[in-house]
Symmetry: D2
C-alpha cells in the first residue's frame, strides 16, 4: 500500500528529488515516476534499449539530448521519421530553428519564408542549405555502392556529419542503427528522388532493411522500448519487437489518448494483447508533452544510474 504524500518544495531541489517525490504525488506524475523507474531497470538489467521519436521532437531542442543519450549508451536502436534526418543535418550545418508563437500570423510568416511548427519556426534558407549538402553527400555515398538498406545509408550519412550534438553522428560513432521506414517522405525523400532521377540504379531499400530491424536484437536478449509520440516510428519498433519475442520493458510518452484507436494513443496495456509486450513486461504510459516529460523521466534515471556507476 503506497500512500499519497504532500509535496513540499525544498530550496535548490534537483530534478532527481522532484521526480522521486512525483512517485507519491498523483495522476500523471506517478506514471512519470514509474516510467523513470522502468528506464532504470532497462539499463540495470542490460536490456537493449529502443528509442523512437518523431521529427517535431528533433525540431525542438530534444535533438541534442537524443544524441547525448546515444553517446551515453542509453539508446541501442533508434527509429524515427524522415524529417528528423533533414533537421538533424540542418542543425549540424550551423543553422538554427527559432522560437515563434502558436498564434502567429501564418500568412505573414509564409511571405517571409518562415515555416511554423507549433511555436517554433524553420526558415526556407535552412532547407536550401540542406539541399546543397545532401546532394554532395549522396554523390559520395553512391560512389561506394548503388543499393542501400535505409539503416546502412543513414549510418554512412552519420559518418559525414561532424557535430557532437547530431543524432546521425553519435549513432554512427556508437554503431547504433537508425531505422527510418518512411525515408521517402519530406525533404530528404524528395532529394533522394532527385538524385535517383540522374542515377536510376540508385536504390534505397526499405524492404531489405526489415532484416536489420528484426535482428537488431536477439530473441533471447532483454529488450526495452522508450517511445515518444506515435506514428510509424512507434509502430515499426513495436512490430519488430513482436517479431522478436516482444519487449520486456516499455515506456510510452505521448499527448494522445487511447479513445480513438490510434497508434499514438495506444497504451502499454493494449500492447499486451498483441504480445508486443511480454505479459510480464513492466509498462508505463505518461500523458503529456514530451518536451516536458522526457527530460524529467531521463534526467532522474541518468542521475541515479550515474550514482550506481552503471552510466559510464
Amino acid at each position: 500500500m503506497k500512500t499519497v504524500k504532500d509535496f513540499l518544495w525544498k530550496p535548490g531541489m534537483t530534478v532527481e528529488q522532484m521526480v522521486d517525490d512525483f512517485g507519491s504525488l498523483g495522476y500523471q506524475s506517478i506514471e512519470l515516476n514509474k516510467a523513470s523507474d522502468i528506464v532504470m531497470k532497462m539499463k540495470q538489467e542490460g536490456a537493449k534499449i529502443y528509442l523512437t521519436f518523431t521529427s517535431n521532437m528533433v525540431t525542438s531542442g530534444l535533438r541534442g539530448f537524443f544524441a547525448q543519450l546515444i553517446k551515453l549508451g542509453m539508446a541501442d536502436v533508434v527509429v524515427t521519421t524522415s524529417a528528423s534526418i533533414e533537421e538533424d543535418i540542418i542543425k549540424s550545418l550551423g543553422d538554427e530553428f527559432e522560437v515563434s508563437d502558436f498564434n502567429a500570423n501564418d500568412i505573414a510568416m509564409h511571405e517571409k519564408g518562415e515555416n511554423r511548427v507549433g511555436n517554433l519556426l524553420i526558415r526556407n534558407e535552412s532547407y536550401m542549405k540542406f539541399e546543397d549538402k545532401i546532394q554532395e553527400f549522396l554523390k559520395r555515398i553512391y560512389e561506394k555502392k548503388k543499393r542501400w538498406d535505409v539503416s546502412d545509408f543513414l549510418h554512412e550519412l552519420g559518418l559525414m556529419v561532424d557535430d557532437s550534438n547530431s543524432i546521425l553522428y553519435q549513432a554512427a560513432v556508437k554503431n547504433v542503427p537508425i531505422f527510418c521506414p518512411g525515408i521517402a517522405d519530406s525533404s530528404i525523400g524528395f532529394h533522394l528522388f532527385m538524385f535517383q532521377q540522374k542515377n536510376p540504379d540508385f536504390v534505397i531499400d526499405v524492404i531489405s532493411d526489415v532484416k536489420n530491424v528484426i535482428f537488431a536484437s536477439n530473441y533471447d536478449e532483454k529488450k526495452g522500448l522508450i517511445s515518444l509520440g506515435g506514428s510509424i516510428s512507434k509502430h515499426y519498433a513495436i512490430f519488430s519487437g513482436l517479431m522478436n519475442g516482444g519487449f520486456d520493458y516499455v515506456v510510452y510518452l505521448t499527448t494522445s489518448h487511447a479513445s480513438s484507436g490510434s497508434m499514438s494513443g495506444a497504451t502499454t496495456k493494449e500492447a499486451m494483447s498483441w504480445g508486443k509486450i511480454k505479459d510480464s513486461a513492466s509498462g508505463a504510459t505518461v500523458n503529456g508533452d514530451v518536451t516536458i516529460t522526457f527530460p524529467l523521466v531521463m534526467g532522474r534515471a541518468l542521475d541515479k544510474l550515474k550514482k550506481m556507476e552503471i552510466l559510464k
Copy 2:
C-alpha cells in the same frame, strides 16, 4: 454576421438537415459544417481530391466507406499507412474484425490470440490467412516485373482483390493511385521482406514513387485535401502538394491538438505558413473522433452533391 440558432430536433431528421443545423450551433459542430461545405466546393470546382487516412480507420468499418468514396469519384488520390493494406486484404478474404472493449483484459486476449485496437479486435487467424494470400499475390506480381514503385504495386494488388468494399479494388478499378510511403512497416512489410529473401532482385521502390505522388496532379489544377488523423499519410500528402503549388481546399479531421507541435495536431492555419495550403485556401480543422465526424461531413456533402447532380 452569422448568429447562433437554437437547435431543435425534428422527427426523422436526416444527416443533411442535422449537419445543416450544425452551421449555427457552436464549437466543433460549426467547424464540421464548414468542413462539409469545403468538401462540396472541392467537388463543385473540379478539384483533384486527396484523401489520407491511417490504418486504425480501416480496422473500423470506415474501410467500406473509403472504397465507396473512391467509387463515387470523391477521392482521386489516396495516401495511407501500411497496415491499411493488409487489413483491407484480410477483410476482402471474408474475415471480420470484432467489437471488443477499451477496458478488456489484455492478457486473456493475448492468450486467445486476440489483438486489441481500441475497442475492436483482430484475430491471429486473420493474419495467417493474409500470409498465405499475400505470398501467392507477390509471386504473380513478381512474375510480371522485378522492380515496382509502391503505387504501381498497390494497383496490381488491387486488381487481384475481388471485393467491392475493398479500397485496393475500387482504387484499381477507378485508376486512383494509392500511396503508402511506409509500406515496409507492419505485416505487409514483413511479408515483402520474406518474399525478397527468396527473390533478392525484387525491389519495392519508395523513392521512385515520389514522382508519381508529385505528378498525381498538375501545378495548375485545383487541389483539395481531406486528411483523417495524422502520421506519414497526412505529411506525405501535404508535402507532395507543396511541391506542386499547394492545396486550394483543406479539411483536417483529427483528435490531436496543436499544442505539441505534432503532425497529427497541426492545423490548417499552421499549414499556411508552409505554403502547403495556398494563402487563399479554404481550410477547416475538426477536432473529434473520425468514425463520428467523417460520416457526418461526407454524408451531408454527398446528399447535396447528388441533388445538384454533380455526384454520378
Copy 3:
C-alpha cells in the same frame, strides 16, 4: 460476438440510420451508439432522467434543444452552472449570440465590446439588457418571499420568462427542478449580490436546496444520468444520486480524458468504485465535442422512442 461492419452511405440517410450503423463502426462511434441505447432504456424503463450541462453549451444553440428535451419529458431533473441561467434569459429577451472564430483578434474584440467563447461571441449589450431585466425579476421574487432555495428561485424565474425555447420556461411549465449550486458565480451571482446589498434579508440558500436535489427522486425509483461536460453540474448530480442509492444508467459525453483525475474526465467505470453508479448500471462514456455527439445520441433515441409511442 459483434463484428465490425463496413459503413456505407445511403442517399438521404437519417440520423437514426447513421447512428444505428455506428454500432458496428469503431472507437467512439460504437460508444455513441451504446450511449443512445442507454438513453432509450432510461425512458423505456421509466427511470427519472437527470440531465447536466455547463453554460458553454447554453451559449451554443443546444439551449433550445435542452428546452425541447424538458418539454418532451426527456429530462426530469436539470443541473447546470450559473452562466447558463443568465444566457438562457438573455436569449429569451431576443438577443442573439454570434459565430466568431477560434483565432479571432481578441484585443480588437474587446474594444468592440465582444466577448469570445471559443468560436462564438456575446456582446456587452446583452449583459446590459440582462442587468435591467434581472433586477426587475428579483424585485418581484423578493416581494413573494425573502429566503429561497436555489431551485425554487429558478422555478420562479422560469415563470417570468416567456420563450418556448427557454430552459427556465420549459422547466417551470413541466415542474422540472433546475439545480445550480454555483449560482453565486457569473453575472447572475453578481446581480443577486447587488440586489442583496439593498435588501439584506434576501437569502438564496444553497445548503437548504440539498434536500431538494436528494429527494428529486426516491431511493427505489430507477434513475438515469446524462451528463454533458464536467464541472460542479456533473458532480452535484452524481453526488446526489449517490446519497440516493446510485444511478441505474449513466451516459457521459465529454472532451476530457481520465488521465488527469478530473471530474470532467472521470468515466462511468470510475464512478462504479464510488457506488455513484450501481454495479449493474449500464454506462457509456463518449469522448468528443458535445455539440456534435449530443444531437446524435438523442436524435436517434427520440426517433426510436417516438416509433415505440413512448415519446408523447
Copy 4:
C-alpha cells in the same frame, strides 16, 4: 529572435536549471518556462496573487504544496471547489489517500469501500471520520454566529484545523481568504445541510460572499492569477477580477483544449476579449497534467525569488 537550443543533461541538474533550459526547448516546455517567468513577475511587482485549483489536485499531494505556497506568501487569494475542503480536513485528521491504478477493478474496489480518483483512492472510513469532525466544528461555529459568508466560514474552519500542511490552516494563519462558491456540493455540502436541518437559522451565504471576492483586491492594485484546471474555481476568480479591472498577469495550467468552448480549456488569449485580462497582461497557457507542470513552474520561480531575497 530567440533560437531553439539543443537540450543537454548535466549531472545533478536542478529544477531551476532544467526549467531555464525549457525556455529554448520547444512546444509546451517553452510555455512552461514563460509561465514561470510570469509568476516571478507577479511577485516582483507586488501583485496580489490569486490561486485557483480543483479538488482532484488536493486529493493528489499538491495539497501540502498549496499550503506551503500560502505560507510563503505566494497566494493572497484562494478559490477552490467544495471537495477540496473536506479532503484537506480528512488529511489533517491523519488519514491518507492511496496510490491505485487507472485500470483498477472498480467493482471490487466498491466492495472494499475504496473510492477511485484516477490512479488514487480514498477509503470510506476517511469520509466517516470527516463526518464526525465536521459536525463538531459546525457546532462551535454556529455558536459564534448563525449566518456566515462562505469565506468567513472557511477562515473559521481553518482556525480549528491543526496541521501545517493544511490549506485551511495556513490560509487562516496568513489571513488569506478561501473562496468556494460551490460549497453546497460534495460531502461538506451534505453535512452543512444535515446541520441546517437541526438548526434552520444556520445560513451559509454564497451571495453575500461576492463582496469579499470582489474587494479581495483594489481596482488599482496589480493582480495576478494562477489557475489550475477549470471549473467554477477558475471562473469565479476571473469573473471577480473582471469586476475589479482585470488581471495584469495570468497563468493557466490545464489538460483541456480551447476547441470545445469550455472554461477549463479557455486560454489567456480568449480572456483578453472579455477584459478578464488587461490587454497589456502577460499571459501563458500550459497544456499538461498539473501534478507535473505546477511543481516545475513554481519550483523554479521560488528558487529564483529566494536568490533575489524577495521570498521570505
